[in-house]
Structure formats: structure tokens, C-alpha cells
């Protein structure tokens, strides 16, 4: 694969692929009309987000890089899962066991950074009385 340079859309338009392996220019209006391209073909690949994380880190923002790496993990989960994880982390929504289940789900899906975030939340939510 060619060297990836920011902005990817400018330097690596043909190299970057969606989760289903499509390049941007393979997402065509004609194929959408023909029904051979769906919304799922426009999902960003986790590796792309990790590459963006490296750019962010080089740009001096490690927190943004962390966020993009967590995003890379969530990229492989469904919309419903993502909405459910977020909801569960809101205050007073979940028991410790429920949060642990979510952390386990995340870990099972290679979402170790997100899982770590949930484990951290469990500790602080317990300490500050935010457990349902």
C-alpha cells in the first residue's frame, strides 16, 4: 500500500477503503441507483481512524488520538450497540454488573480501549454514587 499522507482524501483517495473494501470512487451514484451500493459500504475502516490517530498525535493532541482509536474500536459495532453503550454510561442508568457486561462485550469485539474507559467509569461511578 502507498504511503498514507494527510489529508488522505487528497493523497490517498484510491488507497483508502471502506469496511466492505470499497474505495471512495467506487461509491457511485449509478451503483446506488442500481442497489449494489448501500449505506454499509460507506462505513469508515478502523485502520483509517487509527491512521488519523497517528496524524493527530503528530499534530500534538494525544487525547484526540485516543478518541480516534476508541472510535476505531466502535467502528466495528452496530449503530444499535453504539447507541446502547453510550446510554448505559450515562449517570444512574446501569448497575455495576451491567457496565461490566458492556466492558466484556467491548473486549470481545477487540474494543480494549473502550472497555478500559468503562472499567474506569465503574470505579468512579461507584465512588460517587452513580450506580443504579
Amino acid at each position: 500500500m502507498a504511503e498514507l499522507r494527510y489529508p488522505l482524501g487528497e493523497h490517498n483517495r484510491a488507497d483508502v477503503r471502506s469496511q466492505t473494501g470499497k474505495s471512495a470512487d467506487e461509491l457511485t451514484v449509478a451503483d446506488i441507483r442500481a442497489g449494489t451500493i448501500t449505506a454499509a459500504d460507506a462505513a469508515v475502516d478502523p485502520d483509517t481512524l487509527r491512521r488519523q490517530a497517528e496524524f493527530a498525535e503528530r499534530g500534538g493532541n494525544p487525547q484526540l488520538a485516543d478518541n480516534l482509536r476508541r472510535g476505531a474500536e466502535l467502528a466495528l459495532f452496530s449503530d444499535d450497540d453504539v447507541l446502547r453503550f453510550y446510554d448505559a454510561l450515562r449517570p444512574g442508568r446501569s448497575s455495576v454488573a451491567e457496565l461490566q457486561t458492556i466492558a466484556a462485550e467491548l473486549e470481545a469485539g477487540a474494543g480494549t480501549r473502550c472497555a478500559a474507559l468503562v472499567h474506569e467509569a465503574i470505579a468512579h461511578y461507584t465512588r460517587r454514587g452513580l450506580i443504579s
Partner: protein, 749 residues
């Protein structure tokens, strides 16, 4: 009516001024009603043990609230903390506005600072120093601007048309919201379509409750999010139904779908929600901004926002707002700098709030300039609204700062609005969501606001919104519908916004798409301001664009009204003017171009009519009148004085083509006069007649009461001076040496 005992009419007048509707309060630190340095703010402190932060601003690990705990584990950089916290506040404040220490070094040091430290440093800066710091520290070199695009009835075609207008004016992010939550998917879809009609690449968002907003993003109906609110105290954060951890996961959720996102905070929010814990506004905002960075948001919308009127109610409130904006930049965040809520009933005060930031520049000068009329702004009126667009363009022209907008006339806007409304109508019809007839579409195209379209909202918009969710309609469906209905250009542009998710380039700090779809971000377009001659400067092409405002008139245009009145009086030169032929006369001295190249006075009277009234007034007093043309000077004093020296009575009346008139006497200094009517736009026919009569009475040695101009508060200069300059130019082109000429006056039959 007599004023009440002990009060003046002046006081009663003040009570009628708009500023009197603004209610402000003294500082109440216990309620958090204090901009800077509450007595309850903690002393800045940090303690690092084995690479872990165990104390922040006087609070130790065991007592950390959620905000402290999150900052300790994700925010403050322990490797820099001790170095940064040991810096002298004043020394660091000086680094912010000088040019010796580069931006990147400031960013490195702030990573190690606590909120109390950052707030204390920013409290040391004067307004001017805050502006300097803003210019130096903002992330993106090229400023941008965001619009509110909403209407009170959630009319989708109007949303689409107004989105097109906004992009045509130069807005690069469009934010909408809805009075009825169920309408949100429909309005987001309409905004997306309209936003891509004039040019590609504008980002769109729909500000609603966090989870719904995320859902709209996941479906591709929006391309960024902003309503991700954080607060400076734990209690208010929880009242906002989130924690730093849920917000961090939310941020990652957006990233996971290739969606741009920024957090929102702003002073006054904690006070409004009754949970400021007695802390100053800037200290609480420092906690918000620190959390924003720690959670991995690329940027923030701050600077008052919904709480601006709380901040505006305390002393130094607007300096605090600017300090908040600067604070965002110190954390390396995209600064989307408020100005999105009307902060005063007074036009002067609300402008004063916004101007310093405009001159300093930011990533987004407004996080919602109301591109629609105030009444249609469902966020509430912005600090600047559609009503103020021309004022904004003019201020941009005056100062030559990059305000990002450009003037557009109906010749440009109407076809774009039509295209947007038609594209939106076609998609709604193709997707079986809603239908609109041609008459409704026409009303949308030419509308100023929703009152021009419809009085009422039906349940149809909510049902269409429900259908979008139930049928899982996405941006891809919008692309298909646009293409099927022949809107190929828009289909391609909406699809390109979807394709961009594959790259995620717009997830980097301060990223926007330019109209050529190039990415401008802190990585491609970093702010390199370091004093005069550096940083962003508008190009000559751009300055020229800024100069072309709706009110600009060339001399040719300004003088176009003259020609139709040519010949309204015939003034024929009959040789050198006679000198004092009879004592009972008034001489009327006319200027070089009067009735030659200048035919219409500033009041709209023709020069012929003005002269006829003057002659009639003199005649009414039984005095003889004679007209001479002064050709060697266009100065009214000199014209009048020259004529007076030809007058047998020593009294003359001088008049310029633009209508300014005076009465002069030969024994006075040139620049003196007996009476002067300097406000030519206010001189009507009756006043010219009175001038004639008064000149005659002066000639007879009487002392008439001077002619008064009508009372007017309207400033004459801005309205008339461009025309004055054009008319004076004509006068000077008619100048010629030599003695005054006797004039024979005749009237065309």
C-alpha cells in the same frame, strides 16, 4: 407632562432607550455571579506521585469529583505538570500575547496546567491582550463561520432554500434545530440537500438531545455534531445527564462513523442550573475546556452560548467571554466562538460584544450567525441575524478583517433557492414523505421568513420525521432520490460528503471543507501568526469581494439622477456681471456647475425650482433680484461673498448645485455669513422661499429671524456624502478663471 419631583426629562428619555431593557446585577460570588476570581475559587496546585496526578487545585485524589478524576487520568500531562505549574502567571500571560514564544510551546505548557492556573492567567489579560492572544493561538489560519438555519414551523423546503442562501453567502457550517423533536430527521435531511446546492462541502448539523443527534449522524443525515454539552461542576454535569466518561464514549461514537464533532460549554450555564458552587465563571469554564480536551474532542463551542445573558449581567462579563474563547485555543482546540445568542436589546451593546472577536479572528467567528430572521430562529435570536447581514458586510468592509461572508444579490440567490427547494421537494416526494404544490414552492423561493410561507405547522412534518426513522432512510437514499429526479449535481455532492467519511480527514482539529473540497484544518492550514506581515491576511481578490456591498454606488450611478432634469432652467451668460447697479437689490450667486452639470439638489428639488423659490421670496419683499454665476470658486462662502460685493445692497444669497445656501454681506469676512443652511437634504421649497425673503429683508437693513431647518436625528453624512463628493467633483470640473458672469434666467415652456 411635567417630570416627577426630583427627576429630569433627560432621565425619562433614558428610560425609553433599548439599553434600559438590559438588567444587570452586582457580583454575587455565592451564586457564581462573578466573571473572574471568585473568593471561592481554589488556589492553583498540582501534585504528581510516580507519574500519577494525585492533587488538582487543592483537592486530593480521594476527594476528586468526576471532573477532577477524569482530568487526572486523561487530561493533565504529568510529565509537564510540575514545570508548567511552577511558571509565574504574569510571565506566562506575557508569552500569550508576545511573539517570542511560539504557539506550539504554549500548547505544550498548558497541557500541564490545572483549570485554576489557566483561569488565573487569563484573568491578567486586558481586552486588547486577549485579542492578541486569540490571533496568535487559534488553531486554523483561515477563519470560518457557522450559520443557524431554522424556522418556526420546521418547513423543510424553506430550510433547504435558506441553507442554499447561507452557503452562497459563505457559511461553511450550518446548524439547525427544531421546536418539535419529531421533526428533526426531516429538517436535517432538508438542510443536507440545501447545503450542497450552491457549492460542495458545507457541513451540517441538527442540534437536539444527545442520543437523537447521534442517531441522525449515524444515518448520514448530518455531517457533524456540536450539541455535546459539558459543565464545570459535577452536579450540573450530572443534571445534564452525562458524565465525562459517557461524553468521551459519545465523542468516540461520532469518530467511529467518520463524523466531525465538537463539545459545547460556556459561562453562565452552571449559574442558570443553580450549581455554580460559588466559583467564578472563568474558573468553571476552564474545567469545561479541560474536560473537552481530555475527552478527545477536537474542538469546542464556547463563549457564553445559552448563558451569555448571565455572563453579560455581571461586571467584566464580555472580557470573560473573550477569555473563554482564548482558553479554548490554549488547549489546542478548534474555537467555535459563540456570538450565537442576542446578548442585549441595544444594537450598540451587542455589536460591542462581537467586534473584538471579529477583529482578532477565530476558527468559527460565530457558532451560529442567524442567517434567517430573528423570529424564525428556534434557538432564540442570535447576536447577529438576517436583519443584520448588511451591517455585518459593511463592518467587514470598513475594517478589512476576514469576516468570511460575501454580499449576494437576488440574481444569484433566487435561482439557488429555487434549485434547493425543488431538489428537496423532489426528494420528499420520491421518498414518499411529503408533497408540496408549486404555489408553496414559489412562496419559499422569495420568502424572507416562514411568515411569508405559512402561518401554521401541520402534523405532516412530524409524521415525515417518524417515517425517516422507521424506514431507516439514510444519506444514500437521499442520493438515489436526487439522482432519480434529475438532480445529478446535488446527488454527487451529497454522496461526496458520505464518501469523505471513509477518509476521516475532517475529524482533525478545526477541519472544514473549502468550496473546492480541499481540507482546511490545523494540520493543513496551521495558524502561523507571529506579528505584522504573518498569519492569515485577506488576498487582494478577497478584499475586493468584501468591498462590493449592496450599498456601494459608483459616481456614475450616483449622478445618474441628474441627467433627467437637465434643462429644468435655462441660465444664459450675458457677459461680465454688473457692479452695484442699484441699492435695492439682492444678488444671487450660483456655483460653477449650477444648472450646467448639476440639476438636482440633495433634497430632491431641481436647481430650477430652488432658484424659482428664492427669486419669488425676494420679489415678495419688493426687492430687486439679479443672478450671477461665480466661476472661479466652488466654495459657498466665496460664492456668497463674491456676489455680495457685486450687490448694490451689499447682500447676496449664494447657492451650490447640491442645494446648500447662505446669505452673505460684502463687509463680512469671506468665511462668515448672515445665515447658512448647511444641511442641503433638509432644505425644502418653502425654506428656499424664506431664504429669499430673509435676504431681501437683510438688504433693507432689517434683522429677520433666521430660517430653521426641520429637526432631524438622521445622520446626513453617511447617506449623502458619497453623492456630495460626486457633485463637488462636477462643480470643480466647471471651475474657470475670470470674473462673475451676469445670468439671464428663463424657464422652459
Amino acid at each position: 407632562m411635567e417630570p416627577a419631583e426630583g427627576t429630569s426629562r433627560r432621565s425619562a428619555f433614558y428610560a425609553t432607550r433599548t439599553i434600559s431593557r438590559d438588567v444587570v446585577v452586582p457580583e454575587y460570588p455565592e451564586l457564581g455571579l462573578i466573571a473572574f476570581a471568585s473568593p471561592n475559587d481554589p488556589e492553583p496546585s498540582i501534585r504528581v506521585e510516580n507519574g500519577r496526578i494525585v492533587e488538582i487545585d487543592g483537592r486530593t485524589e480521594a476527594d476528586f469529583d468526576l471532573i477532577d478524576a477524569f482530568l487526572a487520568s486523561h487530561g493533565i500531562n504529568p510529565a509537564v505538570a510540575e514545570e508548567a505549574m511552577a511558571l509565574d502567571d504574569l510571565a506566562f500571560a506575557r508569552m500569550l500575547c508576545g511573539h517570542d514564544v511560539p504557539r506550539t510551546e504554549i500548547l505544550r505548557l498548558v497541557e500541564g496546567m490545572t483549570p485554576a492556573k489557566v483561569a488565573r492567567i487569563l484573568g491578567l489579560l486586558s481586552p486588547l491582550e486577549l485579542m492578541q492572544a486569540m490571533a496568535k493561538m487559534r488553531a486554523r489560519r483561515t477563519p470560518s463561520i457557522q450559520a443557524h438555519v431554522t424556522n418556526r414551523i420546521d418547513h423543510p423546503l424553506l430550510i433547504a432554500a435558506d441553507a442554499a442562501s447561507a452557503v452562497a453567502l459563505g457559511f461553511r457550517e450550518l446548524e439547525t434545530t427544531v421546536p418539535v423533536l419529531r421533526d428533526a430527521p426531516l429538517v436535517a435531511l432538508a438542510l443536507l440537500i440545501g447545503s450542497q446546492v450552491p457549492a460542495p462541502g458545507a457541513l451540517t448539523q441538527c442540534s437536539v438531545e444527545e442520543k437523537t443527534e447521534l442517531e441522525l449522524g449515524l444515518r448520514g443525515l448530518t455531517t457533524y455534531a456540536e450539541t455535546v454539552s459539558v459543565y464545570g461542576t459535577e452536579q450540573v454535569f450530572l443534571d445534564g445527564d452525562d458524565t465525562p466518561w459517557s461524553k468521551a464514549l459519545l465523542a468516540s461514537s461520532y469518530a467511529s462513523r467518520g463524523l466531525k464533532m465538537r463539545f459545547t460549554s460556556g459561562s453562565g450555564a452552571e449559574v442558570l442550573m443553580g450549581g455554580a458552587e460559588g466559583k467564578s465563571m472563568l474558573y468553571l469554564e476552564a474545567r469545561c475546556v479541560a474536560i473537552t480536551r481530555a475527552a478527545g474532542s477536537q474542538g469546542t463551542q464556547n463563549g457564553g452560548i445559552d448563558g451569555i445573558n448571565v455572563t453579560g449581567s455581571v461586571p467584566n462579563g464580555m472580557r470573560e467571554i473573550l477569555a473563554e474563547n482564548v482558553m479554548a485555543t490554549l488547549y489546542g482546540l478548534e474555537s467555535c466562538t459563540g456570538n450565537d445568542t442576542q446578548m442585549s436589546a441595544s444594537d450598540i451593546r451587542r455589536t460591542a460584544h462581537t467586534l473584538p472577536l471579529l477583529l482578532a479572528g477565530s476558527d468559527f467567528l460565530f457558532s451560529g450567525f442567524g442567517s434567517i430572521p430573528s423570529y424564525d430562529n428556534t434557538f432564540g435570536a442570535s447576536n447577529f441575524n438576517a436583519e443584520d447581514i448588511d451591517d455585518y458586510m459593511m463592518i467587514q468592509r470598513d475594517w478589512g478583517f476576514e469576516g468570511v461572508l460575501r454580499s449576494q444579490g437576488d440574481d444569484t440567490l433566487l435561482p439557488l433557492r429555487r434549485r434547493a427547494a425543488e431538489a428537496c421537494r423532489a426528494v420528499l416526494d420520491e421518498l414518499d414523505l411529503m408533497t408540496f404544490d408549486d404555489a408553496e414552492l414559489e412562496r419559499v423561493v422569495t420568502a424572507h421568513g416562514s411568515l411569508d410561507v405559512s402561518e401554521h405547522q401541520t402534523d405532516e412534518t412530524a409524521r415525515a420525521g417518524d417515517a425517516i426513522i422507521e424506514r431507516e432512510i439514510t444519506a444514500v437514499d437521499v442520493v438515489r432520490a436526487l439522482s432519480i429526479r434529475g438532480f445529478e449535481l446535488e446527488a454527487e455532492r451529497v454522496l461526496e460528503m458520505t464518501r469523505q467519511r471513509l477518509f476521516g480527514d475532517h475529524l482533525q482539529t478545526s477541519a472544514i471543507f473549502a468550496e473546492d473540497m480541499s481540507v482546511l484544518s490545523a494540520l493543513t492550514d496551521p495558524n502561523d501568526y507571529a506579528g505584522p506581515g504573518t498569519g492569515y491576511r485577506p488576498s487582494s481578490v478577497r478584499l475586493d469581494e468584501m468591498a462590493r456591498v449592496r450599498q456601494e454606488r459608483s459616481h456614475v450611478e450616483l449622478l445618474a439622477e441628474q441627467a433627467p432634469h437637465a434643462g429644468c432652467v435655462v441660465l444664459t451668460e450675458r457677459g461680465p456681471a454688473a457692479i452695484r447697479p442699484r441699492p435695492d437689490e439682492v444678488v444671487i450667486g450660483i456655483s460653477p456647475a449650477f444648472g450646467v452639470d448639476v440639476w438636482l439638489t440633495l433634497s430632491g428639488l431641481t436647481v430650477g425650482e430652488a432658484l424659482r423659490q428664492i427669486l419669488a421670496g425676494i420679489e415678495e419683499e419688493g426687492v430687486h433680484a439679479r443672478v450671477v454665476r461665480v466661476t472661479h470658486s466652488l466654495d459657498l462662502g466665496m460664492i456668497g461673498w463674491t456676489a455680495a460685493n457685486l450687490s448694490g445692497s451689499g447682500v447676496a444669497l449664494g447657492i451650490q448645485g447640491k442645494g446648500t445656501a447662505l446669505i452673505h454681506r460684502a463687509d463680512l469676512p469671506t468665511l462668515a455669513n448672515l445665515e447658512l443652511l448647511s444641511m442641503a437634504p433638509l432644505i425644502d421649497d418653502s425654506r428656499y422661499r424664506l431664504m429669499g425673503r430673509n435676504a431681501a429683508r437683510h438688504a433693507r437693513g432689517e434683522k429677520p429671524s433666521p430660517v430653521l431647518l426641520p429637526e432631524s436625528g438622521e445622520p446626513m453624512g453617511p447617506r449623502y456624502h458619497a453623492k456630495v463628493v460626486a457633485l463637488i467633483n462636477r462643480e470643480s470640473q466647471c471651475l474657470r478663471a475670470g470674473n462673475p458672469q451676469e445670468i439671464e434666467v428663463t424657464w422652459p415652456s
